[in-house]
């Protein structure tokens, strides 16, 4: 019988079947990462041909609900992740642009922090595994907080009411948005709200600073001397594998479908994953469709009646929002010949600094360039537009936190 067993065992058949089955499954997974859903280079192209065309408009608010701290506390959820399971970065190490080249692809998203004396670049492929970097910005304790499920990155200064905060990950979500906790008091804070979501901390709102979305290709070209967050983070993670989706492929969580988890409000004015620039001013809220800002170059609008302008920076493909109030006067801004011009024909830098009167319709480009150089040297920083706290965020999350938001689309 034993001999017969040996003779009748067609091991090859079984081995081949097994290998084919497992290999096929393995290949499907690997190939699905790389084939069919990739975003082409042209999709990443930055279009800067905007010449002041106005294509969007405010569509107003549809709901006047304002949530209380109790509402937020009721809505917070925990999903398979405990406090500090997501390891935040407390002692960030930075390396040069050249040293970072080997593991960053041109289209990889990076977040730009423009401090006074240095530029920090934080690759999304590292941030997605840590979500918080605690460190110093302009000599102050600060945290850069990325919430992948809501596509939002916010800079938070760490001083509130005389206390210095450092944040850890609570493991909780609110409208899919990261909930932080302060390590000293254990109080919980929402990234999008930029305030505590606990009863006793209700009045405390944290000051924010701008963090811009860009790509590695654009950011390194604009800031070749920037310091880049190192993958030497103190823990080991598969940087490059995104646990939620991909910004280099289509039809992943970041582009389509709804949020995974419950939300406090659903607003059908836009698709859930559309990126808006969410901004707050004196209790009023506005979402500006990011693609419209890119299209128009400069969007002059209002939030709760207060005049603001959203400006597209072609060099980094990012967007900033400024107040349009200058010395008590309301300004309007336009794009002319690749320059940001106010209604008086005076130029402003993309970072809101006054440059001077360099533009008239009758001037040639050469004359404009010559005048711009002169005025830049003499008058730069004489006047600076006030930055309005704002950040990129998926529409579903913005409208879930702020049902009363206006929308510019």
């Amino acid at each position: 019988m034993k001999k017969k067993v040996k003779n009748h065992f067609h091991a090859g058949q079984l081995v081949v079947s097994l290998l084919v089955l497992i290999s096929a499954f393995f290949m499907i997974i690997v190939l699905s990462k790389h084939i069919g859903t990739s975003i082409s280079d042209s999709d990443f192209a930055v279009h800067c041909s905007h010449e002041g065309r106005i294509v969007g408009a405010n569509v107003g608010q549809i709901d006047k609900t304002i949530y209380t701290v109790e509402d937020y506390e009721d809505e917070m959820i925990r999903v398979n992740v405990s406090k500090d399971d997501i390891p935040v970065i407390d002692n960030p190490k930075y390396i040069s642009v050249t040293e970072s080249e080997f593991f960053l692809d041109p289209h990889d998203p990076v977040f730009i922090v423009e401090a006074s004396h240095e530029i920090l670049l934080l690759p999304q492929k590292i941030m997605v595994w840590h979500q918080v970097v605690n460190g110093m910005v302009d000599g102050q304790q600060a945290s850069i907080v990325y919430s992948p499920l809501t596509g939002s990155v916010v800079g938070l200064f760490g001083t509130v009411g005389g206390r210095t905060l450092t944040f850890g990950s609570s493991g909780k979500l609110l409208n899919s948005n990261i909930v932080l906790y302060d390590r000293k008091t254990e109080s919980e804070w929402s990234q999008i709200l930029a305030k505590s979501v606990e009863e006793n901390e209700e009045s405390k709102t944290i000051k924010t600073f701008p963090v811009d979305w860009s790509t590695w290709e654009l950011a390194k070209a604009r800031y070749p001397d920037a310091r880049v967050l190192s993958s030497d983070t103190g823990v080991i993670r598969p940087y490059g594998d995104d646990p939620y989706g991909s910004y280099l492929h289509k039809n992943t969580y970041y582009q389509t479908g709804g949020p995974f988890f419950s939300r406090m409000n659903t607003d059908g004015r836009l698709d859930d994953k559309e990126i808006v620039l969410g901004l707050k001013k004196d209790g009023s809220y506005l979402g500006i469709l990011k693609s419209k800002i890119k299209e128009e170059g400069a969007v002059n609008t209002t939030v709760g009646g207060y005049p603001v302008v959203a400006v597209h920076d072609c060099s980094t493909d990012s967007v900033r929002v400024y107040s349009r109030m200058v010395n008590g006067e309301e300004y309007r801004f336009y794009w002319r010949a690749h320059r940001l011009i106010d209604q008086n024909g005076e130029e402003w830098s993309i970072r809101g600094a006054y440059i001077g009167r360099v533009y008239t319709d009758s001037m040639s480009h050469e004359e404009q360039d010559r005048m711009m150089k002169l005025y830049t040297e003499k008058t730069a920083n004489d006047a600076v537009l006030e930055w309005i706290p704002s950040f990129d965020v998926m529409w579903f999350a913005w409208s879930a936190f702020y049902p009363s938001t206006e929308l510019y689309r």
């Binding site: 065992f9 097994l18 399971d85």
Partner: protein, 193 residues
């Protein structure tokens, strides 16, 4: 049956493939460009993090073994122990399934679904380890299915172990015995004739 080299080879290969697949699915085999070259790196604070779980059934890696620029192995003793446990269970399942298959061939019993049933637990275990990875990369974004997977993910590993033990029991005590009985009856009949 374990003395049969082909059965042994088949089962070992199957278990190794499973082990590699499992480690890849939990991110401990990393296939993206990540390192600057071949080498070993160990965390200086490895003693503090070696038993720290950061997700259900996932423990902190304490070192990186870079095989090339784009292939790295993250070394976590606990994850590796789980991978080995699952692989051993896959191995014994494959041994029994192979033997069941052989017995069937010897006795000229037409292949039935029973043999395949014995293999199913091993296959499911492999899928369960990688299902969330597969789901994300597949690009499907059905929030209800995702939510189901996220909520049931902590059950995947225990379910895999139970399935593999059940599969082993099923194959060894039911399928193989049944086939052996049929075989004996078949030979007795032949001898009588």
């Amino acid at each position: 049956m374990i003395k049969d080299r082909r059965v042994l080879a088949f089962s070992i290969i199957g278990a190794i493939i499973f082990c590699l697949f499992y480690l890849w699915s939990i991110g401990n085999i990393h296939l993206n460009e990540f390192n600057s070259g071949v080498g070993f790196t160990f965390l200086p604070n490895w003693k503090e993090v070696v038993f720290k779980a950061y997700a259900p059934f996932l423990w902190e890696p304490i070192g990186i073994i870079a095989i090339s620029k784009s292939i790295s192995i993250f070394f976590s003793p606990v994850n590796l122990a789980i991978a080995l446990l699952l692989s051993v269970l896959v191995f014994v399942n494959l041994i029994v399934v192979s033997y069941s298959y052989i017995v069937g061939r010897v006795c000229d019993i037409k292949p039935s679904g029973y043999s395949i049933l014995g293999f199913v637990p091993a296959l499911l275990a492999g899928f369960s380890g990688g299902i969330s990875t597969f789901y994300i990369y597949s690009g499907v974004t059905n929030e209800y299915l995702t939510l189901l997977i996220i909520h049931t993910q902590p059950l995947f590993i225990p379910a895999s172990i139970i399935l593999l033990i059940f599969g082993f029991w099923w194959s060894s005590h039911f399928i193989t015995n049944k086939k052996m009985d049929i075989c004996e009856a078949h030979y007795s009949l032949k001898r009588k004739k």
